[in-house]
C-alpha cells in the first residue's frame, strides 16, 4: 500500500476529528432536544389546577387515620389500567399522592394485554397489582372467573362513600353477576342508537329512510356501510348491546355480521377516514363518538343520526367506568385508601375533570360541571342501568361467545 503523504495524513486526522466531533455534537443535540422542545411546548400557566379541587372531607376517625398511616408505610399503590385511563388518569394519581403521601403507579398498555399479563403473573404466584381501572366487560368476563378480585364493598369505610344516599337511587352499582367485584362509578343516559353518515355522499332523504335498526339491511346500503370490528372493545360492546336489545336481538346481529355486506375494521382512525372521505358513507355502530363530534364541529361533512331505543336507560360511557380491587394485593392498605378516595366526592370530582363530557358519576353530589346536557341524568327520572343488572353479566358472556363464533365463521 503506498505510504500516505503528510498532508493526506493530516487531512485524515482532521477528518476523523471532525467526524468524532460531529458524532458527539449529534449525540448531545439528540439528548437535549426533548427538553428544549418540552420547554417550548410548556403551557404558560403552572399545572396546578388538579390541586385546586375541593379536598376530601376531613374525617378524623381512628380507622381512617390508621389506614392512611398504614398506607404510607406501604409507600405505594399499583393500579392496573387499560386503554384510555392508562393515559389520561396520571394527573388523578398525582392528586392522590399529594393528598396522602402515597405514590400511585399505573400500568401501561391496552386492557387485554394488561389482563393477560396479570393473569399469567397470578398463575405463577406473582402478585404485583392492587387496584384495577379496567373495562367492566373485561373485568367481569375474565378477572372475576379467574378469582383475581376481592369484593369492593367491605373495603369501603369513608362515610362519604358508605352513605348510600349520596349515590344514584341510594345504592351501589356493580357489573358482575355476584354484584360485589366490578364497581360501576359511571353511567350516562342513552335513549337512542347513534349512527354517522357523510352528508355529501348521502342526501337527507336517503338518511331519513333509516328509522329502525332493520333499515340498515336495506340493499341500498350494501357496499356503503362500515362498522367497528369486535377487536375494538367499543365494537364488541355495541354488538352485545344490540344482541340483548329487544328491537335487534341475536338474529339481527347474525344478519349484520354475515349478510349485510358491512365492512369492518378494528381501527377507529380508519373507520373515521372512510366516513369523512365518503369511501363508506354510513357507519354504525361507531366508536370514539366524541372525536367524530369534534370533526363535525370542525366543518367536516359528517352528521349524526339517531334511532330511538325501545328501552332507554343508563349506559357505561367508555372503558373508564369501573373500579376493582385485587385479591392478594401487595399493598392492601394503600389499595383500600385509594378505592375509598377514588369513590369519594373529591375523587369523583377529579375524574369528572379528566373524563369531561363522557363522564356521569353515579354519585349524586358532585354536580355536572361542563358535562353536556344530553349526558346528564334528568331530575326525577328513574333510569334503568342494564349493565348493572345481575342477569346481564351472564347474558353478555353468552352473547360474546355467540358473536365470537359467528365472527370466526365469517368468510
Amino acid at each position: 500500500m503506498p505510504e500516505a503523504t503528510k498532508p493526506e495524513k493530516l487531512r485524515g486526522i482532521r477528518g476523523l476529528a471532525v467526524q468524532r466531533a460531529g458524532a458527539l455534537a449529534l449525540l448531545v443535540a439528540l439528548s437535549t432536544f426533548p427538553s428544549l422542545i418540552a420547554a417550548a411546548c410548556a403551557p404558560k400557566a403552572a399545572q396546578t389546577s388538579s390541586n385546586s379541587a375541593p379536598q376530601a372531607a376531613e374525617w378524623n376517625d381512628p380507622q381512617w387515620t390508621d389506614l392512611i398511616a398504614a398506607a404510607r408505610r406501604e409507600g405505594k399503590v399499583v393500579i392496573a389500567a387499560g386503554g384510555e385511563p392508562s393515559r389520561s388518569y396520571p394527573p388523578l394519581l398525582d392528586v392522590f399522592s399529594q393528598r396522602y403521601g402515597v405514590t400511585a403507579e399505573m400500568t401501561t398498555g391496552n386492557a387485554t394485554e394488561t389482563v393477560n399479563r396479570l393473569l399469567a403473573e397470578r398463575s405463577s404466584g406473582v402478585y404485583t397489582v392492587d387496584v384495577g381501572l379496567i373495562a367492566h366487560n373485561t373485568s367481569q368476563r375474565r378477572l372475576v372467573p379467574a378469582g383475581a378480585l376481592t369484593p369492593v364493598e367491605p373495603l369501603l369505610i369513608h362515610p362519604e362513600v358508605t352513605d348510600k344516599s349520596l349515590w344514584y337511587r341510594g345504592r351501589y352499582w356493580f357489573a358482575d353477576e355476584e354484584q360485589q367485584y366490578v364497581f360501576l362509578y359511571s353511567g350516562k343516559p342513552e335513549d337512542s342508537w347513534r349512527f354517522w353518515y357523510n352528508s355529501e355522499r348521502l342526501s337527507p332523504a336517503e338518511v331519513a329512510t333509516i328509522k329502525s335498526l332493520q333499515d340498515f339491511f336495506d340493499p341500498k346500503w350494501r357496499g356503503k356501510h362500515a362498522s367497528l370490528a369486535i377487536s375494538d372493545p367499543s365494537g364488541l360492546a355495541s354488538l352485545i348491546r344490540l344482541y340483548l336489545a329487544p328491537e335487534a336481538g341475536p338474529d339481527w346481529v347474525h344478519r349484520f355480521i354475515y349478510d349485510s355486506d358491512v365492512t369492518f375494521t378494528g381501527d377507529r382512525r380508519v373507520l373515521e377516514t372512510w366516513l369523512t372521505q365518503g369511501r363508506y358513507p354510513l357507519v354504525f355502530p361507531a366508536g370514539g363518538t366524541d372525536e367524530l363530534v369534534d370533526l363535525q364541529n370542525a366543518g367536516l361533512p359528517i352528521k349524526e343520526g339517531q334511532i330511538p331505543k325501545q328501552t332507554p336507560g343508563l349506559q357505561t360511557p367508555s372503558s373508564a367506568s369501573s373500579i376493582e380491587a385485587f385479591d392478594h394485593a401487595p399493598h392492601p392498605n394503600a389499595a383500600q385508601l385509594f378505592v375509598n378516595w377514588f369513590l369519594s366526592k373529591d375523587g369523583q370530582s377529579q375524574v369528572q375533570k379528566i373524563d369531561g363530557a363522557l363522564f356521569g358519576s353515579m354519585r349524586d353530589d358532585i354536580g355536572y360541571g361542563n358535562i353536556d346536557p344530553s349526558a346528564r341524568r334528568k331530575p326525577g327520572v328513574v333510569y334503568e342501568y342494564e349493565e348493572a343488572e345481575p342477569w346481564r353479566a351472564e347474558a353478555a358472556n353468552a352473547a360474546v361467545a355467540q358473536i365470537q363464533e359467528w365472527w370466526d365463521a365469517k368468510p
Binding site: 449529534l26 432536544f33 418540552a38 385511563p85 401501561t108 391496552n110 378494528g266 370542525a298
Partner: protein, 595 residues
C-alpha cells in the same frame, strides 16, 4: 480460547464441546423454549388459557385450519410475497451492485440513505402512500384527473398491486440493498477482470460472474423474506381489509387481538413457518457447503467499474427512488406531528401533540430505557451473532445442526405470539423470575431477537472469506481469541456495523416481543407509541412524534456506528483507484492485522 500456546487437539475438542453445550442450553432457553411452550399449549383446548382449567385436545388445530377463507388468504400471501420479491430482488441486486462495484458518485451516502429508509416505520410509509394513491382522494389521482381525457384516478393503493407497491416502498427494496451491498463490496475484482479479459462486457460479467458469486447472500435475503411472508401484517391490514383482501398474517393477528385472545389457533396457524424453515435449512446447508463461492481471500483485491455516463444516470435513478423511500414518509411523519389530525389539513396545525408527548412523565423514562436497550443490542448482538455464525461455518463442533435449527426455529413464530412464551419463560423459570419486571429481561429479549437475520447474514460473509488468513494468523502464533479480534472482526466490520444498526432499529422498535414483560418503569418509546396509537388514546399524531424520536436516535447511532466501524474495520471500499497492492497476500496482511 486463550492466547497461550496452542492446546492439544483433545483439549480443544473438549473445550469446544463445553462451549457448544453452553451455547445450546442458553439459546435453547431463550429462543426455543418459548416457542415450545406455545406449541405445547396450543393443544390446551380451553378458550381462555388464563382463566379456564387446562384441557388437552386438537380442537385449536382442527378449527384453525378449517377457518373460512384460509386458503384464499394463504394464496394472497404467496401472491403478494412473489410479486414483491420479483420486483425487490432484481432492483435490490442492481442497486447493491451499482453502489458497491461501480464509480457512482456518493455511493456511501446513498447506501446510508437506504439504511435511513429501513429506519422509517412501515406504518407512516403506508399512510403516506394512501394519502397519495387513494383512488378517490389520493393527491396523485386528484392531480391526474385534472388532465384532459382522464376520468378516473389511475392509481389504487387498495389492491394487490397497491400492497406490493407499499411493501417495495417500505422495507422491500431497502433491506435487500442493506444486506447485499456489503457482500458486493467484499468481492474480489480479479474474477470480474478475468471475465473482461475474456471479452465479456459489464452486463455479461455481472450475469455470469458477479451474480453467481453472490448466490449465498441473495438466497439468504430471499429466504429471510420468505419467512416473513406469513408474518407481516400492517400493510396488508391497512390496504387489504377495506377491499376484502385478506392475507394469512391478518388471520393470525385478528386471533390474538380478540378480547379473549385465541393464542391456540394463532399458534397453529403460525406454525406454517416451520414448514418453510424445513425447506430453508437444507437449502442453506447446500449453499454453505459450496466453498467455491469464496470471494475474499488473502489475495483479495477490490476494484470499481466505471460506467461512464451511466454513473450519473444510475445516481439520478437511485436518488429518485430514495425520495420515494425516505423523503415522502419522513415528511408525512413530521407534517403529521403538527397537524391537529393527520390527513385533515382543514383542521389546521398545532403543537399540542408535541406538548402531550414531551410532558408525559413516562416519555423521559421510555427514552432512557430505549437508549439503554438499543445501544446494548447494537453493541452486543452483532458480536454474539458473529460468534454463533463462526461456530456454524468455521468449526466442526458437534451440535451445529441443532444450533442452526434453533436459530431458524426461533423465527418460526411471530413476535406477537412469542411475547407470551417469553412471559411464561420469565415467570416460570427459577432464577429468571427475579429478572421479571426489570430491564434485564427486556435486554435479553432485544439482544437475541434479530438472531435469525444476524447469524445468517454473518454466515454468508464467513462463507465468502477464505481460510488462508485465519490459518496464516494461527501459523504466526495467534490464539483463537486474538485471531478472532484481529482478523475476523475487522473483516466482518462492514457487516457488523450493518447488523449493529439493524439491532438498534429492532430494539428501538420492539413491541410485541416485550409488551408483556415491560412495566411502567421499563416501558420503551415504541410501546409508548403503540399506546398513543391505540383506540383508547387514539393519538396517531403523538405516535408519529415518538417515531420521529426513534428515527432521530437511530440515524444518530447509525452515523456513529459507521464512523467507528470504518475506523476499526478493514477499509475495503476503495474508491476510484485500488489502494491495496494487487499481490498482497496473507503473509503481508496478517502481521499488520494481528499486530
Amino acid at each position: 480460547m486463550t492466547d497461550g500456546p496452542p492446546l492439544p487437539a483433545t483439549a480443544r475438542l473438549s473445550a469446544g464441546l463445553v462451549i457448544m453445550a453452553v451455547v445450546l442450553v442458553s439459546l435453547g432457553l431463550f429462543l426455543v423454549w418459548p416457542v415450545v411452550l406455545l406449541l405445547v399449549n396450543s393443544f390446551n383446548t380451553a378458550n381462555d388459557w388464563f382463566v379456564e382449567p387446562r384441557q388437552w385436545g386438537l380442537s385449536h388445530w382442527t378449527s384453525a385450519f378449517q377457518r373460512p377463507g384460509l386458503l384464499a388468504s394463504l394464496g394472497n400471501s404467496i401472491l403478494i410475497w412473489a410479486l414483491t420479491e420479483a420486483c425487490a430482488l432484481p432492483i435490490g441486486v442492481a442497486i447493491a451492485w451499482t453502489l458497491a462495484r461501480t464509480k457512482i458518485p456518493f455511493s456511501h451516502a446513498l447506501e446510508f440513505m437506504f439504511w435511513v429508509s429501513f429506519m422509517v416505520p412501515a406504518l407512516p410509509t403506508t399512510i403516506a402512500w394512501i394519502t397519495l394513491m387513494d383512488p378517490d382522494i389520493g393527491l396523485l389521482n386528484v392531480a391526474a384527473m385534472k388532465l384532459p381525457f382522464v376520468d378516473h384516478g389511475p392509481f389504487n393503493i387498495f389492491s394487490i398491486p397497491g400492497i406490493v407497491w407499499a411493501h417495495l416502498m417500505a422495507h422491500g427494496i431497502s433491506i435487500k440493498v442493506m444486506l447485499l451491498t456489503p457482500a458486493f463490496r467484499n468481492m474480489d475484482v480479479t474474477l470480474e477482470e478475468a471475465a473482461r479479459v475474456g471479452g465479456a462486457g459489464n452486463l455479461r460479467t455481472m450475469m455470469r460472474v458477479t451474480l453467481p458469486l453472490m448466490v449465498t447472500p441473495v438466497v439468504l435475503a430471499f429466504s429471510l423474506h420468505l419467512l416473513r411472508a406469513f408474518q407481516s401484517f400492517e400493510t396488508e391490514y391497512l390496504l387489504g381489509l377495506p377491499v376484502g383482501i385478506y392475507v394469512y398474517s391478518t388471520k393470525i393477528f385478528s386471533l390474538v387481538r380478540q378480547e379473549v385472545p385465541n393464542y391456540g389457533e394463532a399458534t397453529a396457524l403460525a406454525s406454517i413457518s416451520l414448514v418453510i424453515i424445513a425447506a430453508i435449512i437444507p437449502l442453506q446447508r447446500w449453499i454453505l457447503q459450496r466453498r467455491r463461492y469464496t470471494t475474499i481471500s488473502g489475495q483479495y483485491r477490490p476494484g470499481l467499474i466505471d460506467l461512464g455516463v451511466g454513473n450519473s444516470v444510475a445516481f439520478g435513478l437511485i436518488v429518485l427512488l430514495l425520495v420515494f423511500l425516505t423523503v415522502g414518509p419522513v415528511a408525512i411523519l413530521a407534517l403529521g406531528s403538527f397537524m391537529n389530525r393527520i390527513g385533515y389539513f382543514q383542521l389546521g396545525f398545532t403543537m399540542k401533540h408535541w406538548a402531550l408527548v414531551l410532558h408525559d412523565p413516562v416519555f423521559l423514562k421510555a427514552l432512557r430505557t430505549t437508549l439503554v436497550l438499543s445501544t446494548t443490542a447494537a453493541v452486543v448482538s452483532p458480536l454474539l451473532f458473529s460468534v454463533l455464525a463462526y461456530i456454524l461455518v468455521r468449526t466442526r463442533l458437534p451440535g451445529r445442526g441443532v444450533l442452526d435449527l434453533m436459530i431458524w426455529g426461533s423465527a418460526a413464530i411471530p413476535g406477537i405470539l412469542t411475547g407470551l412464551g417469553l412471559l411464561w419463560l420469565f415467570l416460570g423459570t427459577p432464577g429468571l423470575n427475579v429478572l421479571f419486571g426489570t430491564i434485564w429481561a427486556l435486554l435479553i429479549v432485544v439482544i437475541l431477537q434479530g438472531n435469525t437475520t444476524g447469524v445468517n447474514v454473518l454466515k454468508g460473509v464467513f462463507v465468502q472469506v477464505g481460510a488462508d488468513m485465519e490459518e496464516a494468523a494461527r501459523v504466526a502464533g495467534a490464539g483463537w481469541l486474538r485471531t478472532y479480534v484481529r482478523i475476523w472482526i475487522p473483516l466482518l466490520m462492514p457487516t457488523i456495523v450493518l447488523l449493529s444498526v439493524m439491532s438498534f432499529v429492532g430494539a428501538a422498535g420492539a413491541t410485541s416481543s416485550i409488551i408483556l414483560l415491560a412495566s411502567r418503569d421499563t416501558t420503551t418509546l415504541s410501546l409508548l407509541a403503540l399506546e398513543m396509537a391505540s383506540s383508547g388514546v387514539n393519538s396517531r399524531e403523538a405516535a408519529s412524534i415518538i417515531s420521529l424520536f426513534i428515527m432521530a436516535f437511530t440515524i444518530g447511532s447509525a452515523l456513529v456506528a459507521r464512523a467507528l466501524g470504518l475506523r476499526m474495520g478493514l477499509r475495503r471500499e476503495i474508491r476510484a483507484s485500488p489502494a491495496q497492492a494487487p499481490d498482497q497476500g496473507p503473509a503481508e496482511l496478517v502481521p499488520r492485522l494481528a499486530g
